[in-house]
Assembly symmetry: D3
């Protein structure tokens, strides 16, 4: 079982544990000697690592290590130029008999997929509108397998194991509360919008069971998850004999939830539930990205530029 | 049978014939007397008309005339401020026994709907690609009734009886010829794109059998004819068991044919046939609008500003 | 006491009551006779009204009626062209002895100003952060008088009596709930942002005690309520000896809450509480504008174009 | 005579032939040994090549090889990371006595310059409009020498030997055909526009007789080929005593053919022939760029991002 | 000789003098009586005027008065709704024997055309660079006649008699002074740029000898004064055997002086003298427009929205 | 005392002098040998320098040299690839006993800070408007210390020792002269605007006493120098009891001087003095950047792309 996590390293620690190889290369230093240059990761973050003075005899075994492998290392935590770094003393590739839990090595939503799925399913099952209830339950059940691990994006916000479920769950939590303030909203319609708005990311993005995206599908590139989602709702609402007006309103909610033509929505929201869906989506994405950038920032300092936030550098207060 | 057409009036003509009422109102002149202010139309254009000095006793019968009615008038063609105008001497509403052909009064494509439909149908029937052939024929047959009269737009280019057919036909003519130059293009794919690209305008726009649009449908406003068209292709290609790659390429052609997000296309064309479809569409629309603006312009002069052409004032050469 | 309200009129009602004159003019009809053309209002809406066949002898008294006056009328509710209209039988200007409550005639927030103020004040008084608590209380107390009636805008959203208070109150309600979901947010900071973000609209807009704006102040036009607000916080935080970092963060929240340079914010939000403030503001404004547009729309139909919503026509579902 | 062409290499071929050096460098590998890193080209494409384990004694002769030289190599075709690559066994610089045809090494339009020139000349000579005919012939004759080799661009579409001629020729072919559909167009005017629209690229771009551009001329940077072209037409039409209206229309066609201010056209097309000129230009450029990107793409796959096509990744169908 | 000027009217004045008719119409008042509605102007401004209770017998003579005529009136200066207005008691059309100086009625630059021309001519004659000196003198002499009265614009800044001369003169004055501060500038080049930059407005705009523009010429609409100016410089520099580099730099100065593609410049300034020319032009235009708007504004108040200044409302300080 | 300046080097010079180290690194050449790669600078420019064949024994002393150090070198001026370069023969770090004047090594405004300060102070002291005079003097005195060395920007125009003073001084010189042409301008107001417009760059940018910026302050990033400047004027005008209208006009001048929302100004200038302030600022920045780019350009050639000038490549004429 993994004991040392990157997010908790302190300078001068001596650590011995398994890590995921994010990148690996042999390089030549200014002293003309070979060294091994690594980027290692686990579920809590990433860290650079060096193994100095690599002998030619070590090359064959090192050449067998590739990105994505898990290796076991013994190393010291040092500090260079204000950043922590590992000086690797020993390393070997993990083997079948090592006791490794892949979950220790990948970025993942902070809650269990099963719990999040159950939360969402219960909200769907509790809807008063029968049409919307059966549609949501059908979609959740049809897509349960992929939902358990799919990220919400190829990169950027919620690009993590079960990130899409986490995105839906937090949006649902906010949706419920906003409907308490703006009581004219049809709560079931808002919640259905939340559940279906990104569902075809499951078929737009190509991702493995670790929640890591490798790219976009053919249909995803040709049509995108908004149009793919509309096609799904079009067929399902016909099959489930859902009221036509409601079906088209749901399709419109999917179509308009990116709000701006330049972000993929050719129509702007034409009723309040479609409007609020957009803001629920934005708030969850922005809070996620900001939180992530600030987690890596010292109090009283500014973060690096965040690409998904128009290159803003965020501030973290002192106290 | 109609004898006098607005497009051929000359000043000082004395005419007696039927015209369509585009607008009608009683107004008071600077001489404090009532007069009747009309805008009359037929298939060749529109003209302003005045009947001076209307007596109170005429009001009841005049009040029965409404926009869209056909009236018979006797009038002189005068000229005022550089524009032709009618001075109406007598008028009455048309009655059931009058020999009236509605086609004489409405703007219409310059070719017969039956001929254009046959031209398009033959192009579809002549395709070598069986999937595309059966899809096109199905769509043409399913929509034949509305195609016979639908305009291609609520206003602007091809807003006329059977304007959509005319738009498709001319695009097909150019498509064939461009495929002779750019021989790498898949001609059947281009022609299928032409036939289906605007087909759901039939369900986006609400129009009567005279080809006059009254507005947009509920689904048209919520989704638009691009997304509506994709839904149709999605269902039809499944029903006709058309190859999935081809189906998605066709949906992409519909989705991307407006080219810019601001004009409704969230994706840009990703293969040459989709790219050329956009240009075929643009060329036909622009040639139509320019021709129409120049028809009303004197040689050696500039047209009025044309809204659909970014407010350009077009030039008509002298000779 | 007022008995008949415009928002509850039904065709063929006979009504007799006081209304506010929004506009008044003598016009000449197509029958060459004078008539009185009125737009009347009360707290529930507006309605057109006509008094036909006005005699010359009536003119002196009618000429005394001006926009903003209250008049008493006897009238029938008729319907013309799909719109309700009043046929006025008798009218007179209100006099001092009439029992008139001005509140019956003006658009107003749906809650009592005192209650909303108390709600907001209590939230401020309950803050755990002493700096923010004393700042909020000071600002609320300094501005209490104007807050009781000021609209939140010269036109558009919350342009109504005590509209600014209502805007702040609903934002506070949502702020509290969103902080339950995004638990990393500093709730006191968010709520302070809500309370101060628009406070200098009180000095940017010029409005009377009925909440009706007449224009913008000199300083409002030169600097705008964002910069004016920063100046107020700059002086107050110095006077109250509030921590400098906190003071600048609050000024930044005001400066960035319009989000885009084109809407007046030269800086984008640089921490999550500033980011969420923007969305709280947007949501409340949009929900207000949409609700108002849909109140005037029939089920199953589209509203008129709404200028503040990019000219969208909103849809109101059938059921 | 050249026997082996890059575009037809298959893995494991053993080849011996001449190639053009696109880039050359000595590098040190991860094994600390020197190797030669080359990019080689011929008229059919480019390929990477490596010569491993270069001895210090080889350096003097290798240092004499520069970009643009032709070398003879003996090599094996290998495959690395999904890309073909050459392992070079022997190489030497070409010498005067080698039988080398430069045409084998450079990218070139797919038709002979003489044939394309003759095609264009014949179209000009066949014009019915005497003014336009003599103008086109004069321009073709004045510029014949440079036309034989000039590319149509410094980079991007038609950046190849005689690329400008090829661009003009294909546009003329489409122009003729579009005039058959849109019969109101003045065909001679459209064709003249095609012939002259880019003619001053000959003086804007600086290129050698192999059609390779090295940059832009002084006048090209100061004015650009649109304004330069207008100056040429201004002087020539005066010299040839061409009708003033026609001259200005031609200058306008040049000025407006980029269509948008941001692409260099301060005026938009003001008559149909100018409008169609723009679309002819766009279609030819887009078909060229798309074809080129897809030539290098596997069926069923997406191309790399194409900078000239707004970074789209194009799709090539499976069959 | 004219005695009463609109810009100096005070309420309750009784005036008797000649004015230019800007618009004239017979209207019917709310009292059902005819009145004459006039807009009158002179060199100092415009004012509305009414002649009440026009008898039918007056109509024939009134109908002879048209826009652009000069009339003599007797009238009182009244005030209505915060604006001054004339109540006309008597009026007649001016006749040949009236002692009328047209200059009293039209807007004109504040200095004499002859003086401004002499000022500019002297600056040109004093240039040390022989090429630029002879070019400027030639252009000034070639265009002297039109320069004496041409406005600098069809509307907006310097749309007045000899407005172009005034624009050039003030730009020259500033140019000289700025060259004292930025001593690296080639003063003769800057001044030549000033003299030629707008010279082809003389052939782009169509204006009469009173400096009133009636529209744009054919060439002006097709090419615009920037391209027209380049053509002139191209021919003149050849004729005068002016150094080619200098000629192209001058053409570039004309081409780039609007700075942005959207304002007609496809190239941005590429040397400091071209850059400064743009700012000289902007400053003079802006100072003119602002001054004009503020002339009509009360101290301590805001002007109407000024279209040429992005609809800003300018402020005039109290003192 | 420094004798050799980079800006005056000629190929084949042998030089021996002190230079500032801009960057330093040990690298391995293609001959597998270590060399020292330097970028050296002084007040006249920068130059690359190499010391070949560095022995391991030299490394300890070389490792002690850091960016920002001054070193003494003996070297030859060579030329490589069209650029001058130094071949370093000997080098050592400067020591306390070396006779070094830091001013020889840093980029600096071309005039003495004391003289520029005195010039500006005298202009302020000479103002006729007492309010503005005392405000300017107070601001100059309060900020004198930092003004003596602060740059006007972190990078780009006037990023040099006392660059802000130089920027203000040249703007004042032009301001005076422009007020001679546009005599309606309030000269004292314009000059006050010049003096205060960028004053809070002193607290937005963090710079050392050599005028080198290291970044932006917390308040600078949160608010920016425009809003910071308004806060300063707000407090100072209250303290100095300056007329309220004047104070707000000055704050508006600061707020609007960047002109466009995208450049940080939420309001556009609303009176001529604010408008002219913007142009004075633009002209001085542009003339500075252009001059600097052209100083490094050969006559008859184009500069490198200049980022601050929209990537233009500037032209320097031949003579």
């Amino acid at each position: 079982m993994k004991e040392y996590y990157i997010g908790r390293f302190r300078t001068d620690d001596e650590i011995q544990d398994f890590f995921l190889v994010k990148s690996i290369a042999i390089k030549i230093g200014s002293n003309k000697k070979q060294y091994l240059d690594l980027m290692l990761g686990d579920s809590t973050g990433e860290i650079a690592a060096k193994k100095w003075d690599v002998a030619d005899t070590e090359l064959p075994s090192l050449n067998e290590i590739q990105d994505g492998d898990v290796i076991k290392i013994k190393a010291n935590v040092t500090e260079w130029n204000g950043m922590r770094q590992l000086r690797v003393l020993k390393l070997r590739k993990a083997v079948a008999t090592d006791d490794i839990d892949l979950m220790d090595f990948i970025k993942s939503a902070p809650e269990k997929a099963e719990d999040m799925y159950a939360f969402i399913y219960n909200k769907a099952a509790g809807m008063g509108d029968e049409d919307l209830r059966k549609l949501c339950i059908r979609i959740l059940e049809d897509n349960k397998e992929k939902l358990m691990y799919y990220p919400a994006a190829a990169k950027n916000h919620h690009a993590e194991l079960a990130g899409l479920l986490y995105h839906i769950k937090r949006m649902l939590m906010t949706a419920e509360r906003i409907c308490q303030v703006y009581t004219n909203l049809n709560g079931d319609l808002v919640m259905t919008g939340v559940i279906i708005h990104d569902i075809e990311k499951l078929n737009e993005i190509e991702a493995d069971v670790l929640g890591m995206a490798s790219g976009y599908s053919f249909e995803g590139q040709m049509l995108g998850h908004l149009v793919q989602g509309i096609k799904v709702i079009d067929r399902l609402t016909e099959e489930l004999k859902i009221d036509k007006e409601k079906a088209i309103m749901l399709e419109h909610m999917i179509l308009s939830h990116h709000y701006e033509p330049d972000f993929g929505s050719p129509k702007k929201p034409l009723f309040p539930e479609a409007e609020i869906l957009h803001y629920l989506d934005m708030i969850d994405a922005r809070m996620y990205d900001m939180q992530e950038a600030l987690d890596a920032t010292e109090p009283g300092g500014f973060s690096d530029r965040v690409w998904t936030l128009d290159n803003r550098k965020l501030y973290k207060p002192k106290n």
